[in-house]
Symmetry: C2
Subunit: 155 residues, 2 copies
C-alpha cells in the first residue's frame, strides 16, 4: 500500500483517509499533470507528463524515446498525481492518488482515432506521435487524503 | 536519463533545458514536498513526503511502516520534486529534479542530534521517530527546465 506514512494510526482520528476507487478517479480527473514511474531490472525512472482520465484509464502522448523504450521492456507502471493545499503555515489538506497498472502503446487505428477525440493537451511544444494508455490493475487504485497539521507531542 | 521526453530535440531551440547539479540542488531547496520512489523485486511504491536539503542530501522523517520496511530491503531510491507554473492557458514554465541515491536511516546519536537542528517540519500530525537521509549517487542528480507551449504543426 502506497501513500503518506500514517504512523500506524488506523482509528477515526487518523490524519489519513483512504479513498474509494471512485473518489480516487474523481480526483485524478481534476488534474492534468502527473508522474509516470517505469522500471527495468533494478533501474527506476520517473517522467512528469500531461494526462487525461479516459474511460477509467490514464491516457497520455509521447514522442519516441526513453519513456517508450522503458514501456516496451516493462509494461507494469506506477502513475501518481497529488495536490497540496496549505490553509495556514501549519494546516492544510493534501491528497495523493496512485495507479498501478499496465501501460500499452495504442497501435490500432480505431483506438488512435478515438484517442484523438479526447481533450488531451500536451504542454511541451514537441511532436508527440504515440498514445499510451495505462489500464489500472484490479485493486490498482490507491487514493489517500491527508489532514496536515502539527506533530503531536511525544509521550 | 529521466525527465520530460524532449522528443529527441537536442539543439538550442529545445523546450527542455538540462540543469547543472548546482541548479538542481538550488531548485530542490525551494520546495519542501517531494516524492520518494522505492522498490523491491518487481514492486514499486511511491510516497509523498516533506523534506529538506541538508548538506547536499535529502533529509526526511518517517514513522515505522511500509516506507522503512522498503528502505530496509532496498536502499537505492529515487526522489523527485517538481513545479509547474502556467503563465497562460498555453504557456508556462515547469521544472523537475530527480535524485537517484542511497537511503539510510540515521542510527548514530550524533547524526540524529544534528538532524534535530535542521528546520525539517513534517506536515502530518503523526509521531515520526526516524530520520532518513538520501545521499545522491555520483551523477545521481538530474534536473530539467521546460518551456511549456503549443505543440508544433506536424509536417
Amino acid at each position: 500500500m502506497a501513500g503518506w506514512d500514517n504512523g500506524g494510526m488506523t482509528d477515526n482520528h487518523s490524519p489519513v483517509t483512504h479513498l474509494t476507487d471512485e473518489q480516487s478517479l474523481d480526483l485524478l480527473a481534476t488534474k492534468t499533470f502527473g508522474r509516470l514511474v517505469v522500471h527495468r531490472k533494478n533501474d527506476i525512472d520517473l517522467f512528469p507528463l500531461n494526462y487525461i482520465v479516459h474511460d477509467g484509464k490514464i491516457l497520455f502522448r509521447t514522442a519516441e524515446g526513453t519513456k517508450l523504450f522503458s514501456l516496451n521492456l516493462n509494461d507494469d507502471v506506477l502513475f501518481e498525481v497529488d495536490n497540496v493545499e496549505q490553509t495556514s503555515e501549519d494546516t492544510g489538506e493534501a491528497w495523493s492518488v496512485i495507479v498501478k497498472g499496465t501501460a500499452r502503446i495504442l497501435k490500432d487505428t480505431t483506438e488512435i482515432h478515438a484517442a484523438d477525440e479526447a481533450p488531451l493537451k500536451p504542454w511541451l511544444p514537441t511532436l508527440k506521435y504515440n498514445y499510451v494508455v495505462i489500464t489500472p490493475n484490479e485493486d490498482g487504485l490507491s487514493g489517500r487524503k491527508f489532514n496536515l497539521g502539527e506533530e503531536p507531542e511525544r509521550y
